[in-house]
């Protein structure tokens, strides 16, 4: 297994489970299951035991490995020099399981669907760009930016609204961008995090070849998960593009005259998506956008920025739901934390977070207290 030479180095001291100030457990799977085995240290020790033959691949071990949200809280807070590799180690262990062919059925189904259809929804690729109908967003044809949407924004009904809002807003702000439409395929970020490296490389190569063929040099993404794949994984496969999350493109344009904003008196708390924040260090762009809207009151949750609590959708859990369910599912914990701020809106910058938190609001029966909106949707509401 990759990183096999590191797994014995975990002291299981538990710093990885916390926020920086120790105010709460911040590992989503540990917080939900509360057994040490579901913490980063537990995973390290169990991976080693599995590699040594002391325990076997089992449903439980699969749940332990695949419930990791790859949120990188452990990477942020582990005190050892190998901290940067913690998520990589968990992904490498998943790779071992995938290679052995014994994996949880939802993971198997997700990977199978991507392999066959190029998306997890088993939808035809012709449907991918349909969200853009009746918007000013064009198909890419030498525009400054390729606007990459990803599977969730392309197919999920809720997320399509976010794609529409973000795309329309960027065009209104004067950004020259186009989408791939039916030529887009899955970015592979979740495929990789679920341990199917071969399929990831195939998908990435497809995207890279297409973008190169089309002469794309700059990419902006709707989804931080896509952003992560393009920015951090594609270069090693020859995909050298300038990559931005859409909030990074939008933030500097908020003061331009093209976006005339009215007063929007509302209190908002921003939920940092892990693949924008901890994985890529972008905490400010979405906040700058929100702060540009007159009369918006931005209230931080107790856990924010580097210490944000994951919605539980990362690492493929958005699709597999291994980490979801019950009062202590991470998305419900996060919604309760947002409710504590008194904010009227949970702002997100990720279609996966949006869905996760919206589901949690329903489960918490808090629809009359708070709503989830993407940053782009909030700006759209505030347009004069």
């Amino acid at each position: 297994m990759r990183y096999e030479d590191i797994v014995h180095r975990c002291f299981r001291c538990g710093y990885c489970k916390f926020t920086a100030d120790y105010s709460d457990f911040n590992c989503p799977s540990y917080r939900k299951f509360f057994f040490e085995s579901y913490s980063p240290g537990g995973r390290m020790w169990l991976i080693r035991a599995w590699l040594n033959g002391e325990i076997q691949n089992s449903e439980r071990l699969q749940e332990i490995l695949f419930s990791c949200a790859t949120c990188a809280n452990c990477v942020e807070h582990c005190v050892f020099t190998f901290s940067d590799d913690l998520v990589n180690i968990f992904v490498a262990a998943r790779e071992e399981m995938v290679n052995s062919g014994i994996i949880p059925p939802p993971v198997r189904d997700y990977l199978k669907n991507i392999n066959i259809s190029g998306n997890p929804y088993k939808e035809p690729s012709e449907e991918r760009g349909k969200w853009a109908k009746d918007t000013p967003v064009e198909t890419y044809d030498g525009h400054d930016y390729l606007f990459y949407i990803g599977c969730v924004g392309s197919y999920d009904e809720r997320a399509k609204k976010i794609a529409k809002a973000a795309g329309s807003l960027l065009v209104k702000a004067g950004v020259s961008l186009g989408i791939l439409g039916d030529r887009e395929t899955c970015d592979g970020n979740e495929v990789k995090s679920l341990g199917e490296l071969g399929l990831f490389q195939f998908l990435a190569q497809q995207n890279i070849d297409l973008l190169k063929e089309m002469g794309v040099s700059k990419v902006t993404t709707l989804d931080p998960h896509s952003f992560n794949a393009f920015k951090n994984d594609y270069p090693a496969l020859g995909g050298e593009f300038e990559v931005y999350h859409y909030t990074q493109v939008l933030a500097p344009l908020m003061r331009s005259k093209k976006l005339s904003l009215r007063d929007y008196e509302v209190s908002i708390t921003f939920h940092d998506p892990c693949y924008l924040g901890r994985h890529n260090g972008e905490y400010d762009a979405p906040r700058k956008i929100l702060e540009s809207i007159p009369k918006v009151a931005l209230i931080e949750m107790d856990r924010s920025r580097e210490n944000a609590f994951c919605c539980g959708g990362g690492g493929g859990n958005f699709f597999t739901d291994i980490l979801g369910g019950g009062e202590d599912s991470p998305n419900r914990i996060r919604v309760r934390e947002a409710l504590n701020t008194g904010a009227q809106i949970i702002a997100v910058a990720c279609p996966q977070c949006a869905k996760m938190l919206e589901d949690a609001i329903k489960a918490e029966e808090a629809e009359d207290k708070i709503e989830v909106l993407d940053v782009a949707e909030i700006v759209a509401r505030a347009l004069a």
């Binding site: 014995h8 180095r9 002291f11 001291c13 057994f35 020790w45 089992s58 005190v79 050892f80």
Partner: protein, 460 residues
């Protein structure tokens, strides 16, 4: 067995019971060197009533019960030596009450020191507790149970001395309140003016009951905090230096460390002094007192204050000091363990020579760390060795070094702190027979079926 599993599920909910190989593997061991023993079940309760029911079930079925905090003692105290049910307490982590004026806090037993520190800083910025240097996940109940020490130990003694009340689930399943809380709504004293019953539980590692609530004394949190390091190559003078420092009553905490790396530390002893103040004047006054008291040693060229590099200061002032955990990776192997006897401060020279001798004999990387307890009443001296978990030979050498360290400490008049099962046997063997008899009587009367963390503090 299935009956027990079903019964436990009915008590805590099926999601919080496991007899799966993964939990059995993990909870069979701690990060130290003691051999693993498998539990039969692991449970994660949330309510004291659940613990009562678990203990009653264990009594009925005559199976062992082992309460566990973070499992960071390193000496195997929560390894279930005779199997049974491991109760992971960390889901019971509520901070129940802070009495600002009476300066105490009541917490559930599984509350971590990290959480308590964070809570006090946010909500009661003028109060603090004695935070140990074990990782932040170490729990309050487990720490007082093992007589842990912390940042305020030089001023107020062991962390268990700072307990001001307990709630304990007895081996019968009954809840027992210890101290003023047994008859008053206020948890200001664990004993006086009543007979102090806390000794029936503190230090017993769960062999006489499970601590479910702890009241801890809180202390003034000053606005400023700083650290100084006095360096000497005269280990024989360290006890005198500590004597002078404790006489000033100006210091928050005194630790002495000696280690071979980095090179500037080699062959020196570093007396680390923490000082606090609400104003610059207060801080500088204390600093002056501290400097003045060591002046004779400076003049005799036996030591001097070290300039602390700016990058080093935050590490030293960190609470808990996460750098302590990093010692585990010195050999890129994820392990360290220490024998940490409580011993007279004047034994510092022998102890520090011994740790270096053992490191050399067994070819190990070492760190010697002494924490002064009270005004020099004693110290915890850590014979600490780091090891590579993937190197069985190094682990064996570390075990031998620790065993020799233990033999040495006992012979030098030390008493083992959080002793391994072997050190417990050595302790009981050497103990005054009447004391031993009293311990036996207590254990047999409180836990007649011997179900509470069996193997620990067993007097035969």
């Amino acid at each position: 067995m299935r009956d027990i599993s079903r019964s436990l599920s009915e008590i805590v909910g099926e999601n919080y019971v496991s007899d799966k190989p993964e939990e059995i593997y993990f909870y069979a061991r701690d990060p130290g060197l003691m051999p693993p023993h498998k539990p039969d079940y692991v449970v994660v309760p949330q309510q004291v009533e659940e613990i009562q029911e678990i203990v009653r079930l264990a009594n009925e079925k005559r199976i062992p019960v082992v309460p566990m905090g973070a499992g960071m003692a390193l000496t195997g105290l929560v390894i279930p030596l005779k199997g049974g049910i491991v109760i992971d307490m960390k889901r019971m982590n509520k901070i129940i009450e802070v009495n600002e004026k009476a300066r105490y806090v009541i917490v559930e037993g599984g509350t971590s020191h990290g959480l308590l520190k964070s809570y006090l800083e946010k909500n009661h910025p003028r109060l603090r507790h004695s935070i140990p240097d074990s990782p932040a996940t170490a729990t309050v109940a487990a720490n007082v149970m093992i007589h842990g020490q912390g940042r305020l130990t030089q001023q107020y003694g062991f962390n268990s001395d700072m307990v001001s009340g307990l709630e304990v689930v007895l081996p019968s399943g009954d809840i027992c309140k210890i101290g003023s809380c047994s008859l008053s709504p206020n948890w200001f004293s664990k004993g006086a003016p009543l007979p102090d019953l806390s000794g029936l539980f503190l230090g017993w590692f769960g062999a006489t009951g499970i601590i479910t609530k702890v009241a801890l004394k809180l202390y003034p949190r000053k606005k400023m905090r700083d650290v100084e390091i006095f360096v000497t190559d005269r280990e024989d003078l360290v006890p005198n230096m500590v004597y002078e420092l404790t006489h000033t009553e100006m210091v928050e905490d005194i630790n002495v460390f000696a280690q071979p790396m980095p090179m500037i530390f080699k062959d020196n002893h570093h007396i680390t002094l923490f000082i606090t103040g609400d104003t610059d004047e207060e801080l500088e006054f204390k600093r002056k007192m501290v400097w003045d008291c060591l002046d004779t040693f400076i003049k005799s060229k036996d030591g001097g204050f070290m300039g602390i590099p700016p990058v080093m200061k935050p590490t030293l002032l960190d609470m808990p000091q996460s750098s302590v955990s990093r010692f585990a990776d010195v050999k890129k192997g994820g392990g360290f363990e220490y024998s940490g006897p409580i011993i007279a401060v004047d034994k510092y020279p022998e102890c520090s020579r011994k740790v270096m001798e053992l490191a050399s004999k067994y070819d190990l990387a070492y760190s010697a760390m002494a924490r002064i307890i009270g005004r020099g009443h004693c110290m915890m001296f850590g014979f600490a060795f780091t090891f590579n978990r993937a190197d069985p030979d190094m682990m064996a050498r570390t075990r031998k070094a620790l065993e020799e360290g233990s033999d040495f400490a006992l012979a030098a008049g030390g008493v083992f702190w959080k002793p391994t099962i072997d050190e417990q046997r050595m302790t009981i063997e050497k103990m005054d027979p009447v004391t031993k008899g009293l311990m036996k009587m207590i254990k047999e009367n409180l836990d007649p079926q011997g179900i509470m963390n069996p193997g620990n503090w067993e007097v035969h």
